[in-house]
């Protein structure tokens, strides 16, 4: 037990003793039992456990204001928060009752339960560091219907006793595990109580000795969750996308505290999370298909085929076989596999050292071996600390096999089979394509529901029949997808997967590896796209170096380093401070006019044959999305203690937004603008000046956005301590891309909720234009976790594909460093930045935000182009048929949507467009292009 847990246990024991002195055990038991049985939580579906937590040791204050546990203010906050959860889809409300570090009190449980009893009737859980059976009774007496018990704090006997007490009161118990050892104890507890519906297993990702969250742990332990039990994902869950991901891994409940306490709209987030979990669990249940393993793979093409066609697992053979691969070969093959796909090393009767040697190199999730040696292999793995590779024992039917004809497992291996998750059953000789005895397998499968995988002699032709006759949960094929012995065929793999009911994976591809040019030793840094995306969604990217994979970083002169470091610190403090967001929200609401509407574009939908929705950022104050970030950074600047703000602008929208935000918040503002843009966006120059800003035309370089950024950076270098550079796009050195994205992500968050509300589902596609990429990254962030949503970034195709004729950075560029970050860049062979062109000043930029480069590299977002004339045409069409004059920038997105709509298979689909600004500023260009 860690120091922290030990301390909590000691305090908890003292509290229990004091309570017992006041109210004896017998009396407490009477109180608990006279309250009647606890409220039952229905089986099935997904349970979102929303937590009321006024403080935590890792996060500090989480409540609105500090309040003494049990005080009227604390009670008020608990009731308010619980009531929000109660009407927002929570299936269980967790209330912290720990007073020393978590701002809780026993009375908080009672008031929450009271409040719930009166309204929605959602059950309440007491969450604490419970060490005594007395405290379970106390929880029930306070009205709780559930308790959480931390396995690591309790001896087996005490744990069992506390569970029995809960069972007597009809309560639900979550037994919380941190690692494999804990899970093993949970498993024994399950066996002891016969896997009842009231006993759940929780996996906590927070290491209670260091208080750090290791989000990877939920994924790592997913394959080891006890079967047939509700499993709860805990800690570090921040978004609906997180919930969906964990639900997909088999967690049918999630406990969320900090994110909900912090959320500006806890009800909305709670509802969204509950819905995401329910959706995913529903989808999985509806799928009802077997688990499919394609075994004996030797080439990257075959692995790719198996993954693409939806196999759940790929197998690499290390035992003597024509299909044998070396550890190094397997390592390379594993690198191309998505994280959701199991990577199984297939052995027969290996020496434990042999298995460890392979695991040293290849990232396998499972080790398959004969049941006779499975125990020894498992012990060796555990001794080596390799808990993450699960052992899959192989049972053989037939004479001398480990299964008798009636399906009984031989007694000498029964224990190891019981301890395993998946169990593979095959004919007498493995890999021989021999059809196993289906009758025997059916008997085994019947005794171990959901765990038996049938192998041997399967083909696309007989797999359905085999599943039906055996009732097995999964199938394993090798020779059945081969043209000749040991030679797999992608077509046969596809046919088998389809016959077994697999769903083709289209949402994501494997990573296009972009090597890190700074890495000197080349560890082929290929990770799966899903893992990489997971890092972004969980907040692991940007990392400590400000990187998204290889992209991002902070390439600035030394004079700015101290500044940027301070900015990062202030950003973190502000983002974690509720009062910061309260102020932001209040300005956003009454000054910007948020939320901006989502509009159904009826006429364009009819004309284009798809359902088009606009997220109307053009209706935000100052006429574009830029205001979200300008306001946010102006508020941040107040915490920086600077005297003035400088900004760059391309189309002038960010300049106007910055001028307005500075006027509102109270800073002098200087805007750098390319001389070329000053000319083509004249109306905005006048607006900036009217709002009190000084506009500095930049004649150096190409006299557009890029030169404006160069010049703003120079001005910042000249006065780093007195100036904040209010960068307007999702580019620049870390933490700018993160700051801009955070403020702009309101676009995607709102749009997703609005669309769910309006059409009851997600769009098929999302489009947004990308110059530096601020509106696009804000929009995309709402949907990155929704694998079904295809996301398109639209770059400016200009008037040709030659250098200088376009701004299609992702399409034509290669990685390099400009303006402080490593990202895609239009550049020549010598590394000079190329001139870009677009009719739209806001897209006329040769670089792009590092997060876009990252999303491009993992294939989550597709980047396409729209040319000047197509954008102008879409603009006119939108004017005439929707009565809206869009800016030239979103007109590129409209042009791309129109093209997409005409492609086969897209008719009737739903598409959401980031309508990021209005076109008034573009009148001079429009008049020049097509005079009226």
């Amino acid at each position: 037990m860690g120091d922290f847990l030990a301390e909590m246990a000691a305090l908890s024991r003292q509290r229990a003793e004091r309570a017992r002195a006041a109210v004896p055990l017998a009396e407490m038991e009477r109180r608990a039992l006279t309250l009647g049985r606890a409220r039952e939580i229905p089986a099935g579906g997904f349970v979102l456990i929303a937590e009321v937590k006024l403080a935590s040791p890792s996060e500090g204050l989480l409540g609105r204001v500090a309040a003494v546990p049990g005080s009227p203010e604390a009670i008020r906050q608990v009731v308010a928060q619980a009531s929000v959860y109660g009407s927002a889809g929570a299936g269980l409300i967790s209330v912290l009752s720990e007073p020393s570090r978590f701002g809780g009190e026993r009375s908080h449980v009672a008031v929450a339960a009271d409040a719930m009893g009166a309204s929605a009737g959602v059950p309440v859980m007491r969450k604490d560091f419970l060490v005594d059976v007395y405290q379970v009774l106390e929880a029930r007496a306070a009205g709780a219907s559930a308790v959480l018990l931390i396995v690591r704090m309790l001896e087996d006997a005490t744990l069992a006793e506390m569970c029995r007490a809960a069972e007597r009161c009809g309560m639900t118990v979550i037994v919380e595990a941190f690692d494999e050892d804990d899970l093993a104890r949970c498993e024994r507890l399950m066996e002891r109580f016969g896997r009842p519906g009231w006993l759940w297993v929780g996996v906590n990702t927070r290491d209670l000795s260091t208080l750090k969250v290791d989000a990877g742990r939920l994924e790592a332990l997913a394959s080891r969750l006890p079967a047939g039990v509700r499993c709860v994902a805990e800690s570090g869950i921040n978004s609906a996308a997180d919930v969906r991901r964990y639900a997909a891994m088999g967690y049918s409940a999630a406990l969320v505290g900090t994110a909900l306490m912090r959320a500006a709209d806890a009800g909305a987030l709670c509802r969204e999370m509950a819905r995401a979990g329910a959706d995913e669990v529903g989808r999985l249940a509806g799928a009802g298909r077997p688990w499919v393993k394609i075994c004996g793979l030797r080439t990257a093409e075959d692995v790719a085929a198996a993954v693409e066609h939806g196999a759940d697992a790929v197998g690499f053979v290390f035992a003597e076989s024509v299909r044998r691969v070396t550890a190094a070969e397997a390592a390379a093959l594993c690198a191309g596999v998505l994280s959701g796909v199991a990577r199984i090393g297939v052995f027969k009767r290996p020496a434990p050292g042999e298995v460890l040697a392979v695991l040293e190199r290849a990232s396998l999730t499972h080790v398959q071996c004969d049941v006779e040696v499975a125990g020894a292999v498992r012990a060796a793995l555990a001794a080596d600390g390799r808990f993450l590779a699960a052992v899959v024992p192989v049972l053989r039917t037939g004479a001398g096999g480990s299964v008798q004809a009636n399906g009984t497992v031989n007694p000498d291996v029964a224990a190891v089979v019981r301890a395993s998750g998946l169990v593979l059953v095959e004919g007498a000789v493995s890999g021989a394509g021999e059809l196993a005895d289906h009758g025997v397998i059916a008997a085994v499968a019947g005794s171990m529901p959901g765990r038996v995988v049938v192998a041997g002699g399967l083909t696309a032709g007989n797999v359905r029949d085999a599943l039906q006759r055996t009732g097995a949960a999964g199938v394993d094929v090798s020779s059945g997808v081969e043209l000749a012995r040991g030679v797999k065929d992608a077509g046969l793999i596809e046919a088998f997967c389809r016959a077994a009911g697999c769903v083709k994976r289209t949402a994501m591809n494997t990573v296009t590896t972009v090597s890190d040019p700074f890495a000197t030793t080349h560890a082929a840094g290929s990770a799966s796209a899903e893992v990489e995306l997971g890092k972004l969604l969980s907040g692991a990217y940007p990392d400590a170096r400000g990187r998204y994979g290889p992209f991002g970083g902070r390439f600035v002169p030394e004079t700015l380093v101290a500044n940027i470091t301070r900015l990062e610190r202030v950003m973190k403090e502000a983002f974690a401070d509720r009062s910061f967001w309260d102020e932001f929200d209040s300005h956003a609401k009454e000054w910007i006019g948020r939320p901006t509407p989502v509009m159904f574009a009826r006429s364009l939908s009819e004309r284009w044959g798809v359902k088009v929705y606009f997220k109307r950022e053009d209706l935000a104050h100052t006429g574009a999305h830029k205001i979200n970030n300008a306001l946010g950074q102006a508020l941040l600047a107040r915490r920086l203690g600077i005297k003035r703000i400088i900004a760059e602008t391309g189309a002038g929208q960010h300049g106007v937004a910055s001028a307005a935000a500075c006027a509102r918040v109270g800073f002098p503002c200087t805007v750098y603008m390319g001389a070329h843009d000053v000319e083509r966006q004249a109306p905005n120059v006048q607006r900036m000046k009217r709002l009190g800003a000084t506009v500095v035309p930049v004649t150096s370089g190409d006299a557009t956005l890029r030169a404006a950024i160069d010049e703003a950076l120079r001005a910042w270098v000249a006065d780093p301590e007195g100036t904040h550079y209010l960068l307007g796009s999702a580019v620049g050195p870390h933490p700018f891309p993160q700051i801009v994205r955070t403020f702009q992500s309101v676009i995607g968050r709102e749009a997703r909720a609005q669309l769910m509300e309006r059409i009851g589902g997600l769009p098929d596609s999302v489009f947004a234009c990308v110059g530096g990429g601020s509106n696009a990254i804000g929009m995309f962030h709402g949907f990155l976790g929704d694998a079904s949503v295809k996301i398109y970034g639209v770059e400016a195709g200009g008037h040709g594909d030659k250098t200088g004729e376009h701004s299609a950075t992702m399409t034509h560029g290669r990685p390099g460093v400009l303006h402080g970050c490593y990202s895609y860049l239009l550049q020549d062979d010598a590394g000079q930045v190329s001139d870009s062109h677009s009719v739209s000043a806001g897209l006329d930029y040769p670089g792009v935000g590092p997060e876009h480069a990252f999303l491009h590299s993992i294939g989550r977002v597709s980047y396409v182009t729209a040319k000047d004339d197509a954008a102008l045409e879409a603009l006119n069409e939108c004017c005439r048929h929707e009565g809206i004059l869009p800016a030239l920038e979103p007109s590129h997105a409209l042009a791309a949507v129109k093209k997409w709509a005409s492609q086969p298979g897209n008719a009737g689909k739903t598409v959401l467009v980031g309508f990021c600004g209005r076109g008034d500023k573009d009148m001079p260009i429009l008049q020049a292009a097509s005079p009226m």
């Binding site: 030394e558 004079t559 380093v561 460093v817 303006h819 550049q827 590394g831 930045v833």
Partner: protein, 269 residues
Amino acid sequence: MANANRWEALSESIRQRAAAGPGRSAIVSFVTAGYPTREGFIATLMAMAPHVAAIEVGVPFSDPMADGVTIQESSRVAIANGVTLDWILSQLGGLTAAQRGLLPPIVLMGYLNPFLSMGLPTLAQRCAGANVAALIIPDLPLEEGRQVRAVLAEGGTGLVQLVSPVTPEDRAVELCQASDGFVYAVATLGVTGGGGNAAGPDEKLTGYLRRLKAAAGKTPVCAGFGISSREQVQRLAGHCDGVIVGSAVIKCLEQGRDVGAFVRDLAGG
């Protein structure tokens, strides 16, 4: 490979010039490669060679964010002249042994992207072949530059660190210790070629340089940014080991004046 590094010779050259006698100063002069013409590149180096401790050869970049208008313009002209990193390294690599013998240590100063674009291992190799002593990369801060430094060092080329007046004390110490050849002390905030401190170094600047010298130990400290006249050089003498002059050299070239005489005067004859 026990490849002797070339930044020690760079340090030594600065120390020697600084100790050359009363009234003599160690000057590090900067010139954008191929400005005003490609043809005059080597001749410009040779003209400055007898009077300076080292020459910084500017690798032009399209977006020089730490440079003022003078160097921006010289970079633009050089790029238009077809100057590339590859060309510069070929020119330097093609010098005869006799020519090399006349030149002081050469340092390349440029922004990261052209270097990155060449590929770091190739860069290290080419710098060795061209006898480049060190690189100065103003948009490569310490944290991002560790690997770059390691790769360059394999070919005997150093990486000079810049320190700014707003750099915190402990970080300045770290930078001084990580700097090869010399420590580049940015004397004023702002871009290159900015208005120098006409009244001479104030207590703040001299204190800053004194602290850097203490932290740098044996490595010389050179001050740069905004230094253009002999008077400024003299006022700084005693507070640092050498003085870097850039934009003023470019202006001299721009006006067609004798650049050799200009740097000789800066150095005190």
